[in-house]
Symmetry: C2
Subunit: 278 residues, 2 copies
Amino acid sequence: MSQSEKAEAFRALHHGKHLLILPNAWDVPSARIFENAGFPAVATSSAGMMVSLGYRDGEEIGLQEFLSAVRKIARVLTVPMSADLVAGFGTTPEEVATSVKGVIEAGAIGINIEDFTHATGKLHKVEVQVEKIRAIRRKAESMKFPLVINARTDALRYGEGSEEARFSEGIARANKYRDAGADCVYPMGLVDAGSISRFVKQVDHFPVNVMIRKGLPPIEQLQKLGVARVSFGPGASYAAMGLLKRISREIMEKGTYESILGGAITFDELNSLAIPKS
Amino acid sequence: MSQSEKAEAFRALHHGKHLLILPNAWDVPSARIFENAGFPAVATSSAGMMVSLGYRDGEEIGLQEFLSAVRKIARVLTVPMSADLVAGFGTTPEEVATSVKGVIEAGAIGINIEDFTHATGKLHKVEVQVEKIRAIRRKAESMKFPLVINARTDALRYGEGSEEARFSEGIARANKYRDAGADCVYPMGLVDAGSISRFVKQVDHFPVNVMIRKGLPPIEQLQKLGVARVSFGPGASYAAMGLLKRISREIMEKGTYESILGGAITFDELNSLAIPKS
């Protein structure tokens, strides 16, 4: 498949009979493990990838180093790969569009773009975010590339006013991001079944992305609620680091190796994850 | 502690009352998790680190990119950090010594140096390896730096002749590497209690490093056998990738999230691993 065909295949996964389960990787082998497991596409996790490279989540990392990491992962994957572009590594729509060009050239076929600043926890003005999404779509079109745009909003967390006001702000932003050219909306903090159902209805069943976290209904229920895409977020990194803590505790306290050896892969399998699936 | 003091503290851990349990990390957060867990030092795993960066184990990666990854990990650690330098990124003793200079400048206080080529599985001639270790020691001395050299031998795996002949070759190489300036010897493939006991005796209780793998006696027994250092090798990477497989299978087959959410760390904890311990 060409990169454009991968983008179209990825877009279609948001409109299939089954919802898209999208695992987020932090590096090359974690991405390849997910591909081997049979997922039809793989995404990156910004927190997972940034911290792995020694930066806090957000845009502490430089754009070039970020693109280099995206390129490494895209290089080994056969399935479509979507990159979490944080807030776009730029303040103007033009700068963000330039970052997106870099991500496409690095091999990604989709992006996540968010509407707040990690360092401050402040939401960007909706008009500004709409201009960014429009600029991204224009840039992709100028490259004749059918980029899949997942527009994240943190209005449910960082909006103003009551929970109800923030929820309404999330809906309003989702609809505006859709009209600006997004393919999917990703309201961070959407967890319980009632809220998910309400959100999906209020965006007229436009594709909605939810993240796996405590309290999220299981896949079967998400499907019934009309969710189009469920992603891991940084969950695989959280889980891997939790495992390292258990491994450490067992070795230090009991002097045994069950948690490091049980269910582990082999040297040959690890090594095989550095190269594309044959 | 200065970098030299860290090196001396690390050397002393090979001669303490208790054996040194040395976890090998593949990236920044895995290293910081081990530091937080209370290990007195952290090492890198070559396979873990190389594959994470998109290269097979060995020297497919360029020296500068390798050093950049070592620097990132050293930057966030307070405890001593030893780097697995594979076979030294060079064919002559001088080239290897130059690589070692780079690793020290990147913040490492110790190295692993091995006596075979990954790509071919061929052992280097013992005289050549002895010259490399001598050159490394001379280079460290010229920098007035008390580098801790862990000399790995793959004679037990890649030597010639019978198992007994390969074992003898391993002992002979270990003693020569010690005389050339190594602080510890690391016979890859040393697993069962009988062989470990014999090896430790035949190197006159010079520090011996064993790697955690199936069949290795538990810590308490290793201590009695006179082992000075037990390292994870790429075990943490193998275990983390195994966990990702279980997570994937559960979500795809059962649609549930127990293995990704159970025992996971939080966003704040992951983010805190990108910066040094406060």
